[in-house]
C-alpha cells in the first residue's frame, strides 16, 4: 500500500490509508451507538474478510472502532462500531483535507 504520505504531515496516518478511510467513512454513516455486523459491513465495503479484519484491528488499536463478539441466538456475531474518538478523528481528518484544498480558509 502506498498510503502514509510523508509529504502531508497533518493528516491522521491511521485514517489516511485508502482502505481504512473507506471503513471509517462507511461506519460514520451509522448513528452513534449503533453497531453493524461484520459480514454486512464487509458486503457494503466489498472487502474480503481477511482484509477487513486487518484494517479493523489497526483502527481498534488506535481506539477508533470497537469490535465486540456476541451471540445472536446460538450463532456468534461480530459487531463493529465507530467510537466517539473515531468519529472525532474522522471529522478532524475531513476538516484537515478541506484546509489542504483551500488553504487560508478555516473550515470551522
Amino acid at each position: 500500500m502506498t498510503i502514509d504520505e510523508p509529504t502531508i504531515p497533518d493528516l491522521d496516518p491511521v485514517i489516511h490509508a485508502q482502505a481504512r478511510l473507506r471503513v471509517v467513512a462507511a461506519l460514520s454513516q451509522l448513528n452513534g451507538g449503533d453497531r453493524i455486523a461484520f459480514p454486512r459491513l464487509q458486503e457494503i465495503l466489498r472487502m474480503t474478510p481477511g482484509n477487513l479484519s486487518v484494517h479493523l484491528r489497526k483502527l481498534e488499536e488506535a481506539g477508533y472502532v470497537e469490535v465486540t463478539k456476541t451471540h445472536r441466538g446460538r450463532t456468534p456475531a461480530t459487531l463493529v462500531r465507530l467510537t466517539n474518538r473515531g468519529r472525532f478523528a474522522f471529522e478532524e481528518y475531513v476538516a484537515a483535507l478541506r484546509t489542504l484544498i483551500t488553504p487560508g480558509e478555516d473550515p470551522s
Binding site: I3, H16, A25, N31, G32, D34, R40, I44
Partner: protein
C-alpha cells in the same frame, strides 16, 4: 491519495453506505401511494358525492379492497424496512421497531373503536369515518416519524396528508375518498420520488 481524491472517496463511501442502510424511499412510499389511489378510488366510484354510484360494484368491495391493499402494503414495507436495518443493532433499530409498533397499535385501536360503532352508521358515513380516521392517523404518524429521523420530506408529507384529510372530511362523503385517493395517494407517490432522488 491527494486531499481531493480522499474527499471524493469519503463522499462515495458515505453515499454507498447510506444507500445500503436506508430503505429505498420508492419501496417505502409507493405501495402506500398505490393503495390509497386504488382503495380510496374504489370508494369514490362506489360511494360518490351525494350518494351517487359512479361505477356499479358490490358495496363491500371498497372497504375490503382498501383493507387488503393496506395489509399487503404494511407487510411489504415492513419487510423492506427490516431488511435495510438487518445486521445493525442499537438505538436506531429500536426506533424503527417502536415506530412500527406505533403504526400497528394505532390501526388496531382505530379498527376496534370504529368496529364498535360502525353498525349504527349509515353506509355513506361509514366510509367517511374509516377513511377520515385512517388518513388522520397516517398523517400524524408520518409527522412523528419525521421528528424521529429528522426527515423533512416525511414531515411535509405528513402535514400535507393531515391538511387534505381535514378538507376532504369537511367536503363530506364521496369527496373525502376522492381527495384521499388523488391528493393523499399522489402525495405518497411524490414523496417516494423525492426521497429517492435525494438519496441517489
Amino acid at each position: 491519495m491527494d486531499p481531493s481524491e480522499a474527499l471524493d472517496l469519503i463522499q462515495r463511501e458515505r453515499a454507498n453506505a447510506g444507500r445500503a442502510l436506508t430503505p429505498d424511499p420508492r419501496l417505502m412510499y409507493w405501495p402506500w401511494g398505490l393503495t390509497w389511489l386504488i382503495g380510496f378510488g374504489l370508494s369514490f366510484l362506489r360511494y360518490g358525492p351525494g350518494g351517487r354510484v359512479l361505477v356499479a360494484m358490490p358495496e363491500w368491495v371498497p372497504l375490503i379492497g382498501l383493507t387488503a391493499l393496506m395489509i399487503a402494503a404494511g407487510v411489504f414495507t415492513g419487510v423492506v424496512g427490516a431488511r435495510s436495518s438487518r445486521s445493525v443493532s442499537g438505538p436506531t433499530s429500536r426506533q424503527g421497531v417502536w415506530f412500527g409498533i406505533a403504526w400497528s397499535a394505532g390501526f388496531s385501536g382505530l379498527a376496534v373503536t370504529f368496529g364498535q360503532i360502525s353498525e349504527m352508521l349509515p353506509e355513506h358515513l361509514l366510509g367517511l369515518l374509516w377513511g377520515g380516521g385512517i388518513v388522520a392517523l397516517v398523517g400524524a404518524l408520518y409527522m412523528a416519524g419525521a421528528a424521529i429521523w429528522n426527515d423533512r420530506t416525511m414531515f411535509v408529507l405528513g402535514a400535507w396528508i393531515s391538511a387534505v384529510n381535514v378538507i376532504g372530511v369537511l367536503c363530506g362523503p364521496g369527496w373525502h375518498a376522492l381527495v384521499a385517493s388523488i391528493a393523499g395517494g399522489g402525495g405518497l407517490l411524490v414523496a417516494g420520488l423525492i426521497g429517492w432522488l435525494r438519496l441517489r
